[in-house]
Structures are given as C-alpha cells and as structure tokens.
Amino acid sequence: MLRKDNVTALERQAKALRRTVLAMITGSNASHIGSSYSMIELLIYLYDKTLRVDPKNPLDPARDRFVLSKGWAVSCLYAVLAEKGFFEKSLLQEYCKDGSKMLGGSTINGIPGIEATTTSMGHGLPLGVGMAISAKIQKIDSRVVVMISDGEINEGSTWEAIMLAAHHRLDNLLVIVDYNKWQSFGRPKDILNLEPLREKWEAFNWEVRECDGHDFLDIDRNINKLPFIIGKPSVLIAHTVKGKGVSVFENRNEWHYKTPKGKDKIIAEKELAK
C-alpha cells in the first residue's frame, strides 16, 4: 500500500512531468497533449511500482514489457523514461524536431525503453498478447502491461486480441484502458458506444477492475498485486480526464490536435508552476 507521503511525492512528480510534456509539445508545434495528460498518473505509477525494468539493461529478456498502444501520447512516455534514466533528459528537446528519432508516435527505432511500434490503432493489445504468450512458452516470469485508448476499442483487432488473451489464460497480461471518454471526432457515446464496457470485458472472460486514473491511492489499491486472479487476463478501466491538470485543456478535444500557444500556454504554465 502507498503511504501518504509517497502519494505527495508522486503527485509532485506528475506536476513536473506535465511541465516537461508541455515544454516538449510547445517546443515543436506538436499535438496530443490531452492524451498525454490523461495517463500521466498511470504511467508514473507503473514505472515506479509495477514494472520490473532496468534502464541499464533495457533489453533484459526477463523484463516486464510496457506497450503504449495509444502511441500518439508517447511524449508522456518519453518524459517518464527520461526521468527513470533510460536516456538523457536532453533528448526530450528533440521531440518531433527535424531529423530526430523522437517521433510523435511510439516507434521502435533505437530509443531505449520503447517496446513496440504502435500509434496505428488496435496494434498494441495483440502485440502484448504475443509477448505474453512468448513469456509463458519460455517459462519466463515476465509481465506485459498494455495501455489502450477508448477509441481503440472500436477496432476489430482489439476484440480479436481480447478473445485470444482470455482463451490463452494470459494472467501475465494487464490492460489499462485510459478511459477519458474522447476519441478523434467526439465522445464515444455519440460515435460508437462502448458501454457497458465493464460487462463487455467480463463477458469475454477478463477480470475487470475500475479506478480513478488520476488518484494514486486508487490506482495502487487496484493494481498493486497482479494478476487480479490466476488464470485470467486483467483489465483496469481507468476513468480519466482528457487534458487533466490544466483547466483550459480538461475535456476539450481540440487539444488532441492543437499546440498550446499564447494565453492557453501561459495559463498552463501558471497552473503547473511549482
């Protein structure tokens, strides 16, 4: 269990990472800040408490794997990886700059700690299924955590993988749904309704939990022990707010596309100040 002082430290880290991501995105006229902000607490928790990864040995065959299926939010993952020492923090300044390997989508191209090429929707979960099956066959105690967006649950390949994972009883697999209730053109409930989401996963033989994806205590309460139960894949439906942490970003889908500038940038910097 997390202690109160742990939570305070993690919250401080979340605020700092939001500042880092803001600088990365505004520094290169990039986008998707809302998608990054909705999963910052989840990512910090995973890399702090869950994932058994070693920045000094990032390709250890026995490591846990984190697959960012919603790869367009990779700015947040880069910031966390740099914080953990996978690469120099100075590399973050190259994000989306001409000729850089720090792409705006999660891509295996030599950046340490990036486990999968995703960003095309519906790829991350089946990739994670393959990694989890491989670990089982090789009898390696390696866990796979896949972060998916709600929009990706539109994809047929995601549902194919949901069936595969349950059929193969992949209890070394945890999926986190960053359920910020926005997709590209609007709200899922207006575009392609996902509800009842919990019941859908349950019907597909997954063990399901739900949490507030911005509350470290709630995240910890739900995933501090994995798997949820033996013999089943686990899914955490994390209720989140797109653009969380900055008043002018929260629940405004334009920040899927736009770069914060002028007054919006000043407000963000002010609200995220130490």
């Binding site: 790829h123 393959g130 066959i137 194919e160 069936m163």
Partner: protein, 308 residues
Amino acid sequence: MRTAFVKGLTKLMQDDDKVITITADMGFSVFEEMQSQFPSRFINTGVTEQASVSTAAGMALSGHKVFFYAQAPFATMRCFEQIRLDVAYGNLDVKIIGSATGFFANQLGVSHFATEDIGLMRLLPGMTVFTPGDAYEADWATRKAYELSTPCYIRLTKAGSPVVHNKPIDIELGKFIPLRSGKDASLFVSGSLLPMAIDIRDALAKHNVSLGVYSLPTVKPLAKEEILLQAKLTGNVFTLEDHNIVGGLGSSFAEIFAEDRTGVNFYRFGIPDKFTNITGSVPFLLAHNGLSSEIISQKILRLLAINH
C-alpha cells in the same frame, strides 16, 4: 508443395525450440500431427488474421521465430497493415505463409483467389518474397526463410502439385534455376506454372523454336545482373506467373529491363488486370485468363516472328 512445407517446418520445430507456428484456423488435415507434437508451439489463433499477425510480431519481439499460416488472401490482404507496420517496419523474424494462391481456391471465387499477393508483399521494404514452383522449391524456401531473421512471405499452392525438379535445391537467394537451355528465347517462370513452362518449351520445340526455361523461387530479391546477362543471350525474354500482370515477376523484370535499357524484346504472361468472376477448374480459370501452354506458345511464335 504444401506437404513439403509442412514437413520442412516440422523439422525446424524439432530442431529449434524458438520456432512457433501460428495458424488462423487453417490447415485441417495438414497440421494435426504438428499440433499433437508441439502443443505449446503450435497455436491456432482462430479466425483473427489481424490480431494473429500482431501476436506473431509480439512473439518475435520476445525472441521467437514465427511462421504464420493462412489462406493467402487472409494471410496477406486482410492484415496488410499489420504486416506493414508490425512485421516489415519492425524488420521482425516473422514468416507469412499464404496457401492456395492464384486460383487454387478455384470454386470459391475472388474472395479466395490470391492474385495480387506478390505485388502487395513485394511493396514492403525488407520483405523477402518466395514463390516456389514445386515441392523441392517449397522445401528450399522454408529452409531459406528460417535462415533469414527478417520478414518473409512464402507463396504456396496446395498438396499434391506436380514435382519438376529431381533433387533438393541449393541456390543463393535471388538467383534463378536453369531448367532447360534455349538459344532463341528465355522464359522465366515463378510459382505454380513451372510445369506449364516446360510444356510451352516442348510445344515450341515442335516448331523448331528453342526456348530456355528458368525458374525463380523468389520474386524479391532478384539477382539483377545475372538476369540481365541471361536475357541478353537470346534477346527475347518472357515471364510467366499466376498473378496479376501488375506487381509480380513480370513487373519486376520490366523495371529491371527499363532501367538497364537493354533493348531486349520482352513480354509478360500473367493474369490480365481484371477480376475473374466465374468458377471452374484451375486449368480452366487459367486458360480463361490466357494462361495455357497452347495459347502462350502460339503467342510466343507470333511475337518471335514480329521480332525477326
């Protein structure tokens, strides 16, 4: 041809515990023995071609060497974007195996015909495209694909197809296999029409035309210099394949000849660029598309007469 592949793959699985076979619910009366022999490394992923390819990529990222098998339209077209991004861009150790290519699912129609698969796979950077023409070539392709740690496509037909070679093949990747020499013209063939190529040669011999026959068990890569050398010997070159005239062996040769400005007389035999909306036996469907030894040998005679 398919039997040779399964036999070869079974041996690889015996010798190397990193080899995985994934099938998208295909292979009834093909894979039963493999399934019982390797219960954890033979995986039937169900009819989930898109997730299957990504799953194969995930396994390759975790150190496995994965052969993914399905009927060719579903092994290559249904999941093309997964092959492109996860497998090809990742340069992963995944082998895509398409069965019943060309018109071998002859009764079912366009849904099951695979006549654009070579073109699609050839488009992908780093993809090796194998087009074996008989059981010996399929055996070679299976071994060669295993030796490579990079993405491959192997284009199979079905069990019981005619055997043309008489011994195991050992050639370098991209090179052609000389089957018959000829001084008037050269016919390069890839895939299941290999026996037809021999028939065309025999038909032309009766007209005193000497046709060399060369088999290409790969369409990508191609040994460009050797092909050009061979082509210039007679100056008359033909290609033959059961694939759309666009995108396959013929297109590859056209690219080579155009850039080299060889001036060789060149003609492609393949499936015309239109869909086939009738049913029938494989030879019937091929002939309907202008692919029979009679039609082709007559056409070659006319072309050679024009050239002379």
